[in-house]
Point group: C2
Chain length 113, copies 2
DNA sequence: ATCACCTGTAATAATAATATTACATGTGTT
DNA sequence: AACACATGTAATATTATTATTACAGGTGAT
């Protein structure tokens, strides 16, 4: 789950969603707390939560809970600086360390392929 | 469906799968026909078909049907040369042309967010 | 105490992606 | 004619993702 190959896959999975792309674009302007961001992208907060977790798990954003002046807890998310150059070469390199539990020893189907 | 933003999303969706990453890595060595590739990646042909279509739709590979010397029809797939530099900036730029039919005018939920 | 904000999550519904099975077609060879 | 190998797809099952609903808790201000 932490090899370079798996990391790449996780990044692609994180970016394979229009909402999450918008979130990234949104956070690039400046960091935001969750409720604020929910209003901005017009999304329910629980749903936004899921998307944020996927982005954070991929290492594209980071969140930290802060205490505002008036004592309210606010979770701010901000962008991580990242740069992935996606080419056949880089993908090939990533695949070398892809630990896929679903790499079968035997084919899934009959020899009808 | 053909704006730069949508194209980016399609590329991310295409690469967000371990099998498809392996297919790309496989085709980088040299082009292959479908049945050959199916044996190589140990996958049923119908399933491989679906993955190939997703990769081709994203413009990462191209396939063309050829006739072998002994008259058999064989569909060869080969890699496209591509390079996507994934950064907060490039994502922001892509989002500008993201035509998401699911961009609601009103929030999905009650004002409970 | 009620309101207006905020965080966090569990349970579920709805939808999309993935995978399998079964079949259609064609060729050339034994 | 039966076999080995190729392409192509329709129908279905399985699994994962996405989305919603309904709650829990906290703070400070009216």
């Amino acid at each position: 789950m932490e090899t370079p190959g798996n990391k790449w896959l996780q990044v692609f999975e994180a970016l394979a969603n229009p909402h999450r792309l918008r979130i990234v674009a949104c956070l690039r302007v400046n960091r935001m707390y969750v409720s604020e961001l929910a209003r901005e992208v017009r999304m329910s907060r629980p749903l936004l939560y899921m998307h944020l977790q996927r982005l954070e798990a991929a290492g594209l954003i980071t969140g930290n809970l802060e205490l505002s002046d008036d004592g309210k807890a606010m979770k701010y998310y901000e962008l991580t600086e990242f740069e992935y150059v996606v080419t056949p070469e880089s993908i090939t390199e990533a695949v070398r360390t892809l630990t896929d539990k679903a790499a079968p020893e035997t084919p899934h189907t009959k020899e009808d392929n």
